[in-house]
Symmetry: C2
Subunit: 335 residues, 2 copies
Amino acid sequence: MLHIPFEEAQAELYRLLRTRDCPEAHARQVSREIARNSLEGVYSHGINRFARLLHNIDDGIVRLGVEALPVATFGAIERMDGQLGLGIVNAALAMARAIELAGTHGIGLVALRNTNHWMRAATYGYQACDAGMAAICFTNTMPNMPAWGAVDARLGNNPLVLAIPHGDHPVVLDMAASQFSYGALEVAMLQGKQMPIDAGFDEEGRLTKDPETVLRTRRILPTGYWKGAGLSLLLDLFAGCLSLGNTTLGVGRLAGDEHGLSQVFIAIDYHKIVPADQADTLTGELLAHLAQSRLDGGTDAIRWPGSRLAATREKNLRDGIPVDERVWSAICAMG
Amino acid sequence: MLHIPFEEAQAELYRLLRTRDCPEAHARQVSREIARNSLEGVYSHGINRFARLLHNIDDGIVRLGVEALPVATFGAIERMDGQLGLGIVNAALAMARAIELAGTHGIGLVALRNTNHWMRAATYGYQACDAGMAAICFTNTMPNMPAWGAVDARLGNNPLVLAIPHGDHPVVLDMAASQFSYGALEVAMLQGKQMPIDAGFDEEGRLTKDPETVLRTRRILPTGYWKGAGLSLLLDLFAGCLSLGNTTLGVGRLAGDEHGLSQVFIAIDYHKIVPADQADTLTGELLAHLAQSRLDGGTDAIRWPGSRLAATREKNLRDGIPVDERVWSAICAMG
C-alpha cells in the first residue's frame, strides 16, 4: 500500500485531467474532491475510481467543457440539464442553485438530468452544511440491483444523503439502497476481504459475503431486503420524473458505461429557521446521549454518520492517503 | 378470526371515540382512517392499535378538541404545534398545509411538533398524491431501537414515506428505520408466527426471528443494520430541530406512553412540474419493466410499494376486515 500526500495526489489527478483538455477550474474542482474523498476515508469513491472517470472521458461518455444549465423554474423548484458534463461539477452547481432557492423560499429543490456519476454522495450534503443549510439529495444509477424476488438487475442502488449542520461536525448520512455499494465491494476485493454481513446472492441464489461473487452475479442485496428495493424505486421515480430525465430503465438503455443520470437536490435554510443555540443544544444533547449508550461488546464506541471523518482526515493528512500500488500506477500511466 | 364489514368497524370506532367527547369531525376522520388501514391490509396500524389510542386519550396523553396551529412561517416552510391532539388529525392538517405551500412555491415543508402517533405513515403520502403532489414525510418515535453496537434503545424507528402520483395507483413507500415495526411484530406474535428474516436481538445479543423475544428485549434490528440506525438519527434530527420540538431523546423523557412527537411533511407540486403524459410514461414503463423481471422462484410476481393495496382492499371489502376476536372484544368493551 502506497501512502500519498494529499497535495501530491490532487496534483497528479489535476495533471491527468488537463491532458484531456479539461478546463482548469473543473480540473481543480474534480481533482480536489476526488483526492478529498480518499483523504476522508471514502476510498471507494476517491482515487480508486479515477481511472474509470478518465476512461469515461476518453470514451466521450463524460463531456468536458460543459456544465449544468437551468431549463425550467417553478417557484422554489428548478430543472437543470447537465449536458453529460462532469458529475462532480454538475452536482455542485445544482446544490449551489438549491441553496440559492432556499435562501429565497426557505426550501429549494433542483432536479438535474443528463448528468454523470457524482462520486461521493456526501460531498453535496457537506456543501449544503457549509452554507448553513440542511439537505436531502439523491441520484439514480445504472441498473445494478434486482427487484425483490428477481434475478436480473433492473433497479439502481441510488445513494441518498441527509445532512444537518452542526458546527464543525455536521451529521451527514450517505447511504446506497444496496447493503454495500459496488465501490465498497471493489475495495474489499482489492484487500482480499469478505464483507462482515451478507452482501448479495451467488449464482444459485444463496446469500453470500464474498465481494468477488457479488461483483460477478450483480445480485447485490438491497439494504433491509425488500425495503431497499422499494426505497431505490421511489428515489428513481423522484429523480427521473422531476428532472424529465432518465430513470434507471433509461440509463440502462444507453450504450457504454453508466451515464445520463438523474439527481435531486433539496436545500433547507436551516440557520434561518432554527435558532443556532437551540439547534446546537438539540443536536448536541442527542449525540451525547447516543454516545453514552451501553455497548454490546462488539465495538469500542458508538458511531454516527460523519463521526469518524475528522480522525480519518487527520490520520491521512499526517501519514498520506493509502492507495493500492496497482491502482496508482494504472492511473499514472494514463497521461 | 372475525371478519367485520368496513362500515361496521368504522361505526364502532366512531361510537367509542364519541364516548370520550371527541369532536364529531375528528371522530369521523380518525375512525375512517383506522378502519381503512385495516381494510387496506395495514393491520399493524389499524384496528389492532385502536385500544391503545383510547387508553392514551383516557390517560390525557392524547388531547381531544385541539388541533395543529401554525407558529411560524418562512416562505415555503411552516412550523406548526400539534398541541398534543390526535395524531391523525394533526398530520393530515400539516400535510394539507404543505400541499397549500407547494401550490404557491412548487414545494412546501411543514415541521410539526407536539403531536401524537399518526398511525399509518402512508396515509399522508396518499393524501398528497390525491392532490397531485409528490411527498416526502417522516416522524420520530419514542426510543425503541439501540444505536448500532449498543444494547439500550436510544433511537426511534422513525417511519419514512416517499410518494409519487401515478393515476389511480400512486407508488407510496412506507418504511420504518427498523427491519420490522413493533406493530408488525405484534401482529406476528398474535398470529403465532416467526418473522421471515432476523428481526432483532435476544437477551444474549444473538439475532433472532422471534417477535415475542424482540418485543421483550426492545432490541429491534435497524433496517440494513448500521444504515437504518443512521437513517433514524437523521430523520430525528430533521424532525426535532426543524419543528423545535422533541427529538427521540425528548420524547423518551416524557412520562407515560409515547407522545409529543415531531414530524416533517414535504409536498412537491408534481402535476404542475411534470407534464402528466410524460410522468405516466416514465413511471408506467419503469413499473412494467420491473414486473417483467426474471423471478428467482421464491415469489409469483414482483411487487412494489402500493402494488398489492387494491387487491387487499377489494378482498376485505368483500369478505370483511380480518380482526382477532380478542382484539375486537377488548375494543368493544371500552365504551
